[in-house]
């Protein structure tokens, strides 16, 4: 009897959802960018999501068809199944080539229809009527219909991990109701004026129902996605290269414009130095990276075009507020005070990017100038720790939380990573005056597992950056705390929940700004996060690459060039 002969569909899906990037999955699942609503609700003012790239061909150059684009990604994916795979930035980049989202973001930060034709809210924003485009066909010939969308929704909702982002926001039955083959109604549990932003990423990438059915029988097909996108799957060698070729039957060719590239090859190259070497040796045409050490190299190279954006997610220390000793706010505050944030920035960001006080950069209208992240105050930390330890605190099991007047804690991170170890050593140097720090280096999967289950004290994390802050609610609400908790710090505050609800359904756009700024203050006061830096993404391409910022929506809106490191290639072309 074979051990692993039978592929059990449910086990596969469990396995499918485990890995890294779950956080990004859900982050993007609940929308990505700057506030917005639909084409029928008033548009928000919002900052663009990425710098205008210092790029590209002047308008006179005419695009030529042909060529294979070689893309360097920071990681590989285990599968490209929007209903179950953990898609991080790399996965979302690949997914964007073979799938189309129902909605997408334009350069002003509005969610505009893409695969969907239109959407209409009810007066109270509790019912959203979505109309699909007619005549759209998946790569395998199956037509795009309401049934496909509903099927995908229900499968996603049932997934034990990806579904966690969906289940709390919809009723058990009647979440999506079919009106006809191209029309459906969404019935979320709460009113949200910005509902369509949730359909701009993983949740909105519609896959072929035929393929989803086939997956149930043979999960290996997860690596051969079937969508509606401008490119379709050609071949894949795990950890080596994934190849997509142009879809000549793409629905958007007539409505939006032609797709120029013959094919795209995605190369996962985990080492940032190697990625840089490869693009300089003409082994790659375009890449993305968050390794700030590379940025100067890119800038110094005249043959490369670089665009850097730090308006996405933030890097911070995340604290588990449900477990002693950090269930006490004084200890959390002490940790923040003990951290040398400036030193971290000097050593590890090497001058690139910006330090973060909160989840918005000063470029954002939601930035709350009164909220500053504390740090660099070891005496303050010592005072708080002295007060806490003076009470001889013990946890539920009676274990003392202080030894020799210092708080016992564990810091964990995902490895193996020389850089992460250096960072850990640096933090230890900061904290050792007031804390007894134990190190715990884990594999990436283990690290996320323990975060999800709440078995950690302090961990370095990346999150937020949905500039429609409403979509970051899944990391913040009480309802997202459970056995597995997407509210990773497990911090429950009814006032915060009430704020979040209002933010989704504000009386006016101006009021919303104020509400979001209040949320920022609330996050600060919880001391569940020690904000460190805004993550900087660099998109680097050779001078043969053009047009990646020329995407348009079916209605003619200019679309964003990149979101948080995610790249799009529908309008890209190569010169020789």
């Amino acid at each position: 009897m074979k051990i692993i002969g039978q592929s059990n569909r449910r086990t596969r899906r469990i396995l499918g959802a485990t890995v890294v990037g779950l956080l990004s999955v859900v982050a993007v699942a609940c929308g990505g960018d700057d506030s917005s609503s639909t084409n029928s609700a008033p548009a928000e003012t919002g900052a663009p999501t990425s710098d205008a790239p210092t790029t590209d061909a002047p308008a006179e150059e005419t695009p030529v068809a042909g060529g294979t684009l070689r893309v360097g990604l920071e990681a590989d994916v285990d599968g490209l199944n929007p209903t179950a795979s953990a898609l991080a930035v790399a996965g979302l980049t690949m997914a964007s080539a073979v799938f189309d989202p129902l909605f997408t973001f334009d350069v002003d930060g509005n969610a505009v229809p893409y695969l969907a034709e239109s959407i209409e809210p009810s007066a109270d924003f509790m019912v959203w009527t979505l109309k699909l485009r007619a005549g759209v066909v998946f790569h395998d010939g199956t037509p795009l219909t309401t049934d496909a969308v509903i099927k995908q929704f229900e499968i996603t909702r049932a997934d034990p991990l990806v579904g966690l982002a969906v289940r709390p926001y919809y009723p058990e039955t009647g979440a999506v109701v079919k009106i006809d083959d191209l029309t459906m109604e969404f019935h979320p549990l709460e009113a949200s004026q910005f509902f369509p932003t949730a359909l701009t990423a993983q949740l909105g990438y519609i896959a072929s129902p035929t393929w989803l059915d086939a997956l149930a029988a043979d999960p290996t097909l997860e690596q051969q996605p079937v969508g509606t996108g401008p490119f379709q799957f050609d071949s894949r060698t795990e950890d080596s290269v994934t190849k997509f070729v142009r879809n000549d039957n793409w629905w958007g060719t007539d409505i939006i414009g032609p797709t120029y590239l013959d094919a795209i090859e995605f190369y996962p190259v985990t080492d940032p130095d190697t990625r840089t070497e490869m693009i300089q040796n003409d082994e790659l045409d375009i890449l993305h990276t968050t390794d700030t050490n590379q940025f100067q190299t890119y800038r110094d190279d005249p043959t490369l075009t670089t665009s850097i954006d730090d308006n996405g997610d933030e890097y911070f220390l995340m604290i588990n507020t449900a477990k002693a000793p950090f269930d006490d706010v004084r200890v959390r505050k002490a940790l923040a005070l003990a951290t040398d944030r400036q030193g971290y920035y000097d050593l590890f960001n090497t001058g690139e990017g910006r330090m973060a006080d909160q989840m918005f950069t000063p470029d954002s209208p939601y930035y709350n100038a009164d909220v500053k992240q504390e740090g660099n105050d070891p005496e303050g930390a010592a005072a708080l720790v002295a007060e806490y330890c003076g009470e001889n605190p013990v946890d539920d099991a009676g274990v003392a939380q202080c030894t020799d007047g210092k708080v016992n804690m564990e810091y964990q991170w995902s490895g193996p990573s020389v850089l992460a170890t250096r960072i850990a050593d640096f933090y230890n140097e900061n904290w050792k005056a007031s804390f007894n720090v134990t190190f715990d280096e884990k594999s990436q999967a283990d690290n996320i597992q323990e975060a999800a289950l709440g078995i950690y004290n302090v961990v370095g994390w990346r999150q937020f950056g949905a500039e429609n802050p409403g979509d970051d609610r899944v990391w913040l609400e009480c309802r997202n705390i459970g056995g597995i908790s997407l509210n990773w710090p497990r911090y429950c505050d009814d006032a915060r929940d009430a704020l979040i609800k209002e933010i989704a359904n504000p009386a006016s756009p101006e009021e919303r700004v104020g509400l979001i700024q209040k949320l920022v203050q609330n996050l600060h006061d919880s001391y569940a996060y020690v904000f460190m830096t805004h993550s900087s993404w660099a998109i680097v391409s050779t001078d043969k690459v053009h047009g990646n910022c020329d995407r348009k929506s079916p209605e003619g809106n200019s679309l964003v060039c990149s979101i948080n490191g995610r790249m799009f290639f529908q309008s890209t072309w190569l010169s020789s």
């Binding site: 692993i4 039978q6 599968g79 034990p160 283990d446």
Partner: protein, 318 residues
């Protein structure tokens, strides 16, 4: 005949022991359920998760006792079914991972061994020919130094000098490159592993040669008027090669161990670096498979060396 059968039986027993110990260690000291299921494995309050845990236990036989699980694994393994990786999709199958990466390691180890042999033989001959003189003492000291330098240190130094400063060899290994470039990319890693081993071979062979050269039949050859070179290569080398071959075979283990380091430093996706990665990720099926392959290679090579030895020198057969 009986000798051969005994040795083969011993080898098989050995491999079984290795597999039992590794399997036991992984399953007792590790936590397979956690590695397969992820967060769900610990989410024991949720009825859905409980169902998934039960399903996974059934599929991976985790509800059965350790010896039973071992036998299931063993019966699959000997039939070539290495199982699937503990990855999120169970893809690719372990045999896929191995078949893709093993050839690279084999080429690397082979190159290293070739280098070590080709370098050590002339080096030893020259040293033996000039035994006691300055050049011999210098080469002894060199050999000593090489043995004292750990292989990861050699790797770093070689990388620094030849790849970074001189730029003679490429820094990265590209799996898609043509064979010639790939072999060139394996040059430094092969040197890393091969150099210390060459030093070991050289010292041994030199000692052996010197001893052989003192034997009577050499004196006889000299009086007959045969040239030094002829004596060296034809008469002295052959008997000394016996222990040389033994050592070459026995050192395969060291070479394989060295490949782990070399593959890590030079970023070659072979089974050495895969082993390190999968140990870190607690990917037990891959770890088990690689350990068994390496141990088997080791045992089989030793067996072959033993057999070759008995063929050359029948006195040894007892």
């Amino acid at each position: 005949m009986r000798y051969y059968v005994q040795r083969v039986a011993l080898a098989i027993l050995l491999l079984l022991a290795v597999s039992m110990l590794t399997f036991g260690a992984l399953n007792i000291l590790g936590d397979p359920l956690f590695n397969i299921l992820g967060p769900v494995a610990g989410d024991v309050n949720n009825p859905d998760s409980i169902k998934m845990i039960a399903l996974a236990k059934k599929e991976f036989n985790l509800d059965r006792s350790l010896p039973v699980r071992y036998f299931i694994w063993l019966s699959d393994f000997v039939r070539g079914d290495f199982g699937v990786t503990f990855s999120s999709t169970g893809q690719p199958p372990v045999s896929g991972v191995i078949s893709e990466r093993l050839p690279r390691t084999i080429s690397l180890v082979f190159l290293a061994q070739m280098f070590a042999i080709l370098v050590s033989i002339p080096w030893a001959i020259i040293a033996a020919a000039r035994a006691g003189k300055i050049s011999d003492r210098i080469s002894t000291i060199n050999a000593f130094f090489l043995v004292a330098m750990p292989n990861f240190a050699i790797a770093v130094i070689l990388k620094f000098v030849f790849s970074l400063k001189l730029g003679w060899t490429p820094i990265t290994y590209m799996a898609d490159d043509p064979l010639r470039s790939r072999l060139f990319q394996l040059l430094l890693p092969a040197l890393t592993i091969g150099l210390p081993v060459a030093a070991v071979y050289q010292r041994l062979l030199r000692t052996d040669l010197i001893t052989t050269l003192q034997q009577d039949f050499i004196l006889l050859a000299r009086t007959k008027g045969l040239s030094k070179t002829r004596i060296l290569f034809v008469h002295a080398l052959r008997p000394s090669l016996f222990s040389f071959i033994t050592v070459v075979g026995l050192n395969t283990g060291a070479l394989i161990g060295g490949s782990i380091v070399a593959e890590t430093v030079f970023r070659i996706p072979g089974i050495g670096s895969t082993l390190v990665e999968s140990i870190f990720r607690n990917d037990f099926p891959v770890v088990l498979a690689i350990v068994m392959i390496v141990a088997s290679a080791f045992v089989v090579i030793n067996l072959l060396v033993d057999f070759a030895y008995t063929l050359i020198d029948p006195r040894v057969r007892r």
